[in-house]
Structures are given as structure tokens and as C-alpha cells.
Symmetry: D2
Subunit: 386 residues, 4 copies
């Protein structure tokens, strides 16, 4: 499967990445290539027609794709994480309904959690409310950064039951079909990077969904060890972007010749030193990512939170540093849009804003080291596992 | 004059900056505003109709303008440095010819020094050749990053007399009018940032200029303490960009409220810490910049090289850090093109690629501390003052 | 006065510094040299026989002495800050009593503020209590890091009136003579660095002092802009230590020759780069220190807090980095006790633990930038100026 | 074996470490404990009575011991690396002669390579000369940092055959018994840290050893993939020291209570953040170390150089940061000699000076990434595998 990803990355994603970036449009043709190769089902059980990759392979696939088109890799990861939630929380009927949409019809699912006021908080809380109404549900609220707002066939919307404040009891994920009545988007998505994710704000005004649109019992979503996999996949995206940027720099530095000495730039000890620092730190981030993925299945929820935070924190720090230093080391040419380093730099600075923030990751890791174990998210009114 | 710059920055440059950035076009209307206020003559002697700002005021003007539109500030600085060269090296006849073009007709001058193979070298060398031909000169070569390629009325082209390799004897600056026969540009300028400088490559093929087009004797340009002022002005641009980015973050963080606590983000000690680190380092870079400018007139060439390197190095490091951390601290909104932080981040990463590189600056500073005094540029075949 | 300090540093302090460090003993002979040159009165008004240095000169003297013996410089600074408190808060009678002890009899005064439980807090609080008893006062409590515990003739002890928790109303400074009944020290002072300050813990058990032993009204000590000068002087000590360490490295690197190339280590661009980074950052810290000192007199209490925090923060960061990198750049010899770098490394790591901590400094600077102005110390039950 | 190491570390090494540090004396009683448990034979083949640990276990043992007494761990590692050289280069007769000295008589072997002029060079060269004389060899030269100068029974001295400059042909390792005629030491060993290694300079003046005292053919020592293991073991020492320092900080921060809030310092998000940064980076360095050890057996010489450099570079950076920040986070108490953090800080700054330097490591890693593969050491007159 890694070989397939490598081929798709090179032949399908890379050639289109620049145009999707310019247009700030979802990479629909690249998605089609993923669907054709079965990659939309990487997190769907084999029993339901997917390929159910183990976590190390999954992380390798995301990382490989991200090197060619970070937006494609990121949207595949969001989609796949929704698949994990359906697998963990869904009823047999729900699985039988949604998985074939992906496997046979190539549909994508988004996950919309961000809200205007919550991302910097130390407490995990949602203001978008879901309430029972007749034989279904009604949703009201505003979501930010709604990835694939115009491209996904379904979005998994993070809601609070009856607007409750304690997520351990109130969190409820609802699958909303594209074009549901009452959903409107501001269409604003003109950002620094990750432009191919197309993630504007979406307002829900009395959006009605069926009784079977929600996944599991209220609060269950923080108890199943799936939320944590978001951050692990982000780390894979960052490592992939940084590897592509560094590869570009290595090619460039080997070829470029300095006058009047007429030697390759690569012969300069100062350049070697820059490359050495980038290579060794990126290597460490990749190793930690792989180790975290390798330990995933055996880890409980708290451990998963730590594994994911550790990987994401290191990938964030290294990714930001490498993509910036690549441009510095290459010089003026590195800032040309013709070259991959330019997009890598913008994508990384944008992608690393995905929650949890660096501050929250460090606090979580620090608490664990200090014996104050808690999950990845602090839940108002107490502590939840996730 | 600082008050004028503050007003122009707010009323004229800032409103247009985003559009010039998108279009990758020279800020001609902003230039017109500068011309109207007399700012094109900031480095022209009063005797020739300029305002001849002292270096601290000059640096303050560039820094102020850069906070509104970095491309406008950078092009004004390039232009002004050409004025300094004309003042230092030009004959009375040359001054009488060129200064009025600026003062009364609002013309701009570019300075084209970069070349494909030299920017990473430890030795200062030019491959573009200038040769005497009949009663004038002929120029052949390729220049990169030709700022204002389509906007400047004249470009000051850095050449080597007869293609000589020892810049202490061969360097010759030639003023070439826009549209001279034999000048062609590849028109390629689609970069990460500083897009308003419009700086494509230009090829010179047998370009003829008059006998009076060159400034001073061969090699003289490295002896007059003007080259060094490039870097000081770059530092002013970086500090100005970073200040604007930090100001944006401060406004944002004061207004944004965290749920469910309902307190301003600014109340969070972690946020205060981020802001504190940015503020104190930027403050230090600004102080060093001001001190370097204050000591400029009394400094000899070697000292100017150190003052400029010191200021540029610190402004580079701080500028890159602040513009990146502003986006991180603000979160997802900071990556929206609507906000100033996004352009500041791209402009900074691009602007800090202007020579000398960080590596060369550190080596020069280190040599000085180690008693191996030399000028800002090492000249093949020996050491020059500059 | 700076020339005198330079001479004393070289001839008196430097030769003795290593032995005081080994013995963890107060530098009594170096103090005697300071007294002989009138340096114990640098913060005493001329009317009372002192030399009342302006703040820039004062900072220069402390920095110069610190390069030779950090413990001597630090103890002089503690003593001088007590002199400032007496000058600001003392009655004429108190000034007439204490200043001559210093000017004519060479006495030193310590300042004992640290307590077991408070140094990491965001709120400024003292647990050592002072109560009126008969016609005097009685003090009970425990003080940590009592600098010059066996060398000072008086200690200025930071107390809370009647054990009150709101320092804006309760803080009271009491001058306690050495050997007062009820004062006992644990004598424990075997530390990494700053060993010459001899700063063990001291317990006060019903220590009685006279009615005139306290300075000013309760709470007044945070209102006079003197507390802030502690941090400014610490910054001067750090810069002085780091300058001495870097000077040592420069001497060493110039002389050392690399085989088989037989060139000075100083010719290596990598070494130049290390030196360049150290030199430029230390230069910036020194400039900021000098600027902060230059603005001192005109600054109000809040501004003094910022000036001092800014200087101390930068000096802390740079000082720790320079003293560590000097050893790394010099190599194994730098770790020999024979050389100044070894002590500089230990002294810096210890001296930078003096309050306020890096975290509190950054938060204070950040608050100010965010418009949440407050003084250097937060006082329980409200905000005080200092 | 890791359990034995853990027990020895706690019961034998830790209680004695402080005294050896003060005395700057070899940890002879701790060595005796190691010998008793068979740990002196960790790198000796089972056929010769050793326990021949695989590299991951070996690294774990060194790391575990270093947490208790870095000098004991470092000397065991030097000794064990000599055992690897004897195993790789020695004749059957040499193995039969030297291994039993260790296994049955508890002897230790030092490795003396450092020389006054070579450690900063990019070329690997030795000035200590070995020449054939009669039926044996004679050695002349000066060695620095001769670890266990008075404690080892044999030292493996790095020599150049006939003073040749090309180490690929001239390097010859000679085993010299303690007390050989013509060996004199300056006895100078009063350093910042790693004091228990007792590593003064030793001068060789016509020191005669037998014909069978040298290991392998000239130049062979750089071809067997053993030199590289020095750096891997150093990395283990650094990680072990840093882990012990961080453990101390965690214990301290959990217990310490802040007034007036009366909460554990560990509850402070700023403290959690510091701990988080230290923990996650140290975790990464440990993972990389373990991975490098796991890949050791299958790696060729060039790969071993990279594995070792990668591990040592990361451990160096993290180790220096963690030991310094532990003191900062703990505050004044962390600088007391009573606590482990103080020695950890000194030991780390000293131990990380062991070759190769950070600069050389980065250049080697950079060259490899740039496709300029070469071994860990550059050999004059060409490139050797190691």
C-alpha cells in the first residue's frame, strides 16, 4: 500500500498540487485517484470493504501523500478519522449505510469541530447545540475551518446535546449530508496555506437530520481513543511536507555551483551544517512518529493522547524550522512559486495551527511527566479519558 | 519627516499593499505619494533639492513605511541607496543630471547586483562585464532579482571592468536607463513575498551606455561606505514588518475571548509569555538598529559593516520568529489573507534572503571579534574596505 | 569611576576570585579594596559622603567588577540597593546613622527577601512577620539565600507587618544588626556557583530590634522605584560574567593552532560563526542594559519594572548561552578550573536564579505589551506600583 | 543485566558519586562492584568469559549507570570499547592474554587518543609516534584527557606508525601497561565535571612495549566499525545524566507548594510547559539512541558513523538543555551540591566535549544527506571507512 501511495503521490498528486493551491479548491481529481486505488477505505474494516491499514502503515501513507500534496493528505486523514469514529461508535446499520458510500461510490466525509471561541481554551467545549425534535435532531451553531465544505458528501459535526457544557456527557457527533437545509457557508477561504482543503465557516440554522444521524451515546466520542488519532495524522502530514522541502533543498544544493571557487555549494561546511541540523531533527521526528504509530494499538486512551501529542509537537517544531531553513539555505530561488519549498513553507505554517496547540500539547505532556495524568482534552465538569 | 511617513503609511501605503501583493506589481501609486511628499529625496543632499535625512531618521522612515507596505519601503530604500552612491562617487555633472530627475520628476532608480552564481560565495565577485567601446561602455551579463525591473527609470548595474575578477580594482557601477537596447527580462516574478518589488531576471546583451554612465573609478564603490547601508536599511524593513505583525496580534488577543471562561485571551499567562518573548526581542532589535544608525556617521567603513551586520542579523532572526509566532499565537485567523500577519510572514521570509546571508554576517562579526578585521565583503585577490 | 573599577577588577578582584569560589567565603579582602576606593558609597548621596553614581555609570561599575569576580559585584550591588532604600525611605536620623557606617567604617549591608515558599508565585508575599513589641519590633520567620550572612554588618530583612498578606499594606523593611539575638543560620552554602556570596538560610526567632529599625511606612517599599533596580544590577552582573567568558574564548581561539593544517582555530568559518553569534547577542544585551540604565531616572515605577525586566531577561538568556558555548567552542580546556570560563559557567547558572524568574519577567513584559499594565510584583489583594 | 545495572546504580554507584566528584578520584569502589557483577565483561565474548551484551542492552546499561554516576558509566564505556578493539583486531594470543585480566582479575583498560592540537581539526591525525625498536616498539608523544590515568591497568594508546600523517596507513593502537617506564603525568585534573574520570595529560618519552602490544595492522583500527561505538556510548551517558536530572526536578516540583495559593508547583501551566518540553525532547533523544543501537549490528561502518553521530548530537543538545533548565525550573535549591541536578549540570557540560564535536557531527550528517558519504573521521591523504 505504501508503494501505491508513492506512485499516486508522484503521478497524480504532485502534478496537480500547485494548481489546487492557487485556486484554493478541493483536490477532486486527486481524490478520484485515491478512490480508484482504494485509499479512501484505509480506515474502513475489511469486512466492510476497506483495507483497514495498521497504524504504522496508515501514517506512512499519509506522510507519503503529504510530500506531494499536503491538502490531499490532510483531507484523506480527516475523512479516515471519521471512518474510525463510525467504526468505533456506529451501529451495524450505520456502518452498512455509510461505509459503502465510501468504498463503492468514492464519497468523502469531513469532520467539523472548530468553533469561534474555543480553540485556545484549556477546556474542551462545543457551543453548537443538537436537540431532539420529533423523530430526529436539529442542529444550531457556527463551525469554523470546515474542511471540504463543498467537497465532502457528509460532514461529522461536533455538537453539545441540548447545549450542555460538560462534554463528557454532552458531546454528540452528527453526520450531516452535504446540502442539508439550513446549512450556509460564508465561502471565505483565502489563506496562507493548506488552500486545497477549502475550509470556510459554516452556519447551522435549524438543520434537521434523522434519528440515526448521531454516533453513539452522548459523551461516548471522548471515550473510544479515536480523537487522539487526529493529532497523529497531523504529525504525519507535517513530516511529509518537511521531507519534501528538504529533498528539494538537497537536489538544489548539489547542483548549484559557487563562483569563483567553482565548487558545489554542498561542499561548504556551513551548508553541510545547516543540512545536518535539518536532517537529524527531521529524522528524529520521523522516528518518534513511527514509534508512536507502532505503539498505538496497545495503548490506552491516555497513552494515545501522549503518543499523539509527542509526535505532533516534535513534527510541528521540526516542520516549521525545516521549511523555513530550506528557503534560507537555498536562497532567493527557494521563494519562487515554481519550486516546492515555497508551498511547503506556507502549508506548514497553516497546518500546524490544527488543534491541539503547541501550548496545550506541552502542558499535557508536562502533566503526565508530573504524574497529573489526564487525557488529551480537558472536559468541563471533570476529566474524561480523551 | 517621521510624522509624514506615519501618515503616508497609514493613508496611502497600507490600503494598497494587499492588492500590489496579489498582483506582484510595483506600488506605483504609493511611489507617487512618496514623491509628492518629497520622500524620494531622503538621501539626496539639500543642495540638490533633497531632504538629506540623517541616518537615524532615515531608518525610522523606512521602518515606518515597511509596517504598512514592505515592498514600497524596500524599493524606496534601494532607490535611496543609489542616491547615496551618486552622491559619493558621481561628478558634479552627474549629480546635476540625475538628482533633478528624482526631485522634480519623481523618477526611481534600481540597484541590480545579484547574479546566478555568487550570492553564497565568501568572495565578492561579479560576472556581468563592462567594457569600453568607442566613446562609451558596453555591458554583457545576467542579473537576478532586478528590483523595479519595469518601474525604475534607471538601474544601477554592478559590473566588472573587462570581466576582471578582483572587485577592488574592477567593480564599476553603471547607470542604465530603462528600455536601453539589449536589455531583456524573463519577467518571472511569482514569489512567496515581497511581491510588490517585482524583481525578475534581466539579461544584458551588448547594452551600450554613454561615457558618463559609470560612477567613479573602478573599485571605488567598495571604498566609500555606502554598500554597507544596504543592510542597515534591510534591517529597518524587517523591524517594521515585525512590528506591524505584532501590533496585529496584540489587537487580536485583546479582543478575543476564551470560552467557557469568558476571559480575554490576553489574560492567559501562556499568551502573555509568548507576547513577552516577542516584544522583548523585537524591542532589542529595534534598539540595536537605532544605535547602529546613530553611530553611522562617525563610523569608518569597517565599523559600518559591523553596525549593519549586527542590525541586520538581529532583525532577521527576530523578524522571522515574530512573524511566525504571531500566526501561531493568533491561531487560524492569522493565516487569513484578510489580515496583515499573513503577508508579513511571507514578506519576512523573502526579504531576509537579501545579501549578505546570515552565515556571512555571523562570520564577519566573528572575525571582527577575533581580531581578523575585514570589511563586509571579501574581495577576490585581497581585502577591500567594504 | 569606571577606570577605578577596571583597575580594581584587574588588580584586586580577579586574583582572589578563584580562592573565594573554592572556599565559598565572602570576598572580604576584595570588599576592603572597594571600600578603600570609595565604591561602597556608589549609591549613597554626596551629602552623606557617598559618590552617588548615575545609573549608567553604576551599571558599568557592577558589570566591570563582575567580569573579575561575580560574587564581589553581586554583593556590592545588594549592598548598594539597600543604600537606595535607606535614601528613599529613611528618616534623616536613619541616614545620619547608617551612611557613615559605610562611608567611614567600610560596613556592608545585606538584603534578605527570599523565603521557602514564595519565589515561584505570581503574587508577592512575605511570611516573615514583624510585630510591635514594647518600644521596638520583634521579627519571626525564615529567610533563604541570605547573602553575606556572616559578612554584612546589617541585613535589611523583608517582613510583613503582623504577618499580613497584602504586601501593599504590610511590607516593612527592617535593618537588623549582625549577631542580633535570636538569629541563627544553618550555615549551608555549598552551591554550584556564586559561592563567594555565602548565602545560607537564617531563622529569626523573636529577634528584637529598635523602634527606628524599620524604613518608612508599611507598604512604602513597593512604591519608591527601588525594588526594580535589583534586576537591573543583576543584568549588569550577567553581562559582565559573559563578557569575561567570551574574552577568554577569543584569546584562546586566536592562539590555538589546528593540525595538520597549521592554522589558527580563529580562521575556521565555523568557529567564526560561533563567535559571531555570541558576540552579536552579547552586544545587544549590553546595549539594552545601557539603554535601560540611561532611561532610569526619567522612568516611573511601572516603566522601571519594564526596563529592568527587559534587561535582565535578555542578559539571562544571552549569559547562559554564552557561558555554555564558550566552553563548547574552546573544548576540553575550557572546563579546567584554571580558566575563567569554568567559574563563569557555574556563576551564571546560579546568578540567573535571582528573582524575578524568567517566566515572571516574560509575563510582565507580555502584560505590558497587551495593555495590562502592572508593576514588577503583583501584590496580594490588589496591584501595587512595584 | 539491566536489572543488575539498575540495582548497582542505586545501591553502589549513587551513594558514592558525590564523594568521587569532590575528590576528582576514580570510582574504584564502584568499579569493584561492577567487576563483582560481571559488568567489566559486557563487551567481551562469552567464549572468553564475558557476557557480550547486544548493543541495545549495552546502551541501556551505560545509560542506567550514568544516571547514578556519570564518571563510572563513562569509564566503563571507555574500557568496554577497548575490549571491542581487542576482539576485532587482536590475535588469539592477545585475547587469551588480556580478556582474563578483566574477567578474572577485574582490571580496567583506558583509551588515550586526545592530543593537544588535533581535536578541532576536520582531519583525523595523531602526533604520538610509535616506532619499531629491536624486538618491540617505542612510543613518544603527549596525550591529553587520559581517562583513568592512575586507575587503569592498561591504556590503549593511539599512535602513528613512524609519525606518519595518513591515519589510514599509520594508525596503530598500542596496549601499554600502567607504570611503564617513560610515562609521566602532569596530574592536572581539576575540572568542571566528569571529575571521577581523572583524565590528566600523559607524556610518553621512549616508552618501550613488546612486539605483541599493538593491535592489528597499521590503519586497521579505522576499518572495523569500533571507533564509531565511542559516540554511541557517549550518547547513552548523556541521556542517562539528563534522565536523572529530570527525575529530580519532577520529584521536587511535585512536593513544592506555592504560597499564598497553597497549590503544588506542578499545577502551574508554565511549569508543566517547561517539564513538557524537557520530557518530550529527552524522550525523542532516548528513542533515537535506542533505534541507533538496534540498527548497529546490521550497519556498515559508514552507517554506524551516522547512527552514532545522530544519537550523540541529539543527546548532546537535549542533555545540555535539560540539565540547565532543571536548575532553572527548580530554582535556587537546584544549585545546591546536595542535589543531583548540580552535578548533572557540570557533568553534562564536560562530557559533551568528547569528540566528535557538535560541528563535526553536523557536517558529517549533512554530507551524508547531500550524498557526499564519508566515514566518521576524515583521514589525511584520502578517506577511510571510519
Amino acid at each position: 500500500m505504501l508503494e501505491i501511495a508513492t506512485r499516486l503521490a508522484r503521478d497524480e498528486l504532485a502534478p496537480r498540487a500547485s494548481q489546487y493551491d492557487r485556486d484554493a479548491r478541493n483536490p477532486v481529481d486527486s481524490w478520484r485517484a485515491l478512490a480508484g486505488a482504494g485509499l479512501l477505505g484505509v480506515a474502513i474494516p475489511r469486512a466492510h470493504g476497506g483495507v483497514a491499514l495498521d497504524m504504522p502503515t496508515y501514517v506512512g501513507v499519509i506522510r507519503t501523500l503529504a510530500g506531494a500534496c499536503a491538502s490531499t493528505a490532510m483531507t484523506l486523514h480527516m475523512h479516515s478519522t471519521v471512518m474510525r469514529f463510525i467504526d468505533a461508535l456506529g451501529t451495524d446499520a450505520q456502518k452498512a449505510r455509510y461505509f459503502p458510500e465510501v468504498v463503492t461510490r468514492g464519497k468523502l466525509f469531513g469532520s467539523w469541530g472548530s468553533e469561534p471561541a474555543v480553540s485556545l481554551s484549556r477546556t474542551f467545549v462545543m457551543e453548537t447545540a443538537i436537540r431532539e425534535r420529533g423523530d430526529g435532531w436539529v442542529i444550531d451553531g457556527v463551525k469554523h475551518f470546515c474542511t471540504m465544505a463543498l467537497g465532502a458528501s457528509y460532514s461529522m459535526v461536533w455538537c453539545a446535546l441540548d447545549g450542555g457544557g460538560d462534554m463528557a456527557k454532552a458531546l454528540l457527533l452528527a453526520l450531516v449530508p452535504a446540502g442539508a437545509h439550513g446549512m450556509t457557508t460564508d465561502g471565505r477561504w483565502d489563506t496562507l496555506g493548506m488552500r486545497g482543503t477549502y475550509s470556510p465557516s459554516v452556519t447551522f440554522t435549524g438543520v434537521r437530520v434523522g434519528a440515526d444521524a448521531t454516533l453513539g451515546l452522548p459523551g461516548a466520542a471522548v471515550q473510544v481513543g479515536v480523537i487522539e488519532s487526529f493529532a497523529l495524522g497531523y504529525a504525519a502530514v507535517y513530516v511529509g511536507i518537511a521531507e519534501a522541502a528538504l529533498d528539494f533543498a538537497l537536489q538544489f544544493l548539489r547542483k548549484r555551483v559557487v563562483k569563483p571557487e567553482n565548487v558545489s555549494v554542498a561542499q561548504d561546511p556551513t551548508v553541510q551544517r545547516h543540512v545536518g541540523e535539518m536532517a537529524v531533527r527531521l529524522d528524529a521526528a520521523r522516528l518518534v512518529l513511527e514509534q508512536s504509530a507502532a505503539g498505538w494499538d496497545a495503548a490506552d486512551i491516555v497513552e494515545r493522547g501522549l503518543l499523539a501529542n509527542r509526535a505532533k509537537y516534535l513534527a510541528t517544531e521540526v516542520g516549521l524550522e525545516v521549511t523555513s531553513r530550506v528557503i534560507q539555505t537555498v536562497g532567493g530561488r527557494g521563494a519562487y512559486r515554481d519550486f516546492v519549498a515555497e508551498r511547503a513553507f506556507r502549508d506548514m505554517r497553516t497546518a500546524t495551527l490544527m488543534p491541539p496547540t503547541t501550548d496545550r500539547m506541552l502542558e499535557t505532556i508536562g502533566k503526565s511527566a508530573l504524574g497529573l495524568t489526564e487525557g488529551m482534552f480537558r472536559v468541563a465538569g471533570g476529566r474524561a479519558g480523551a
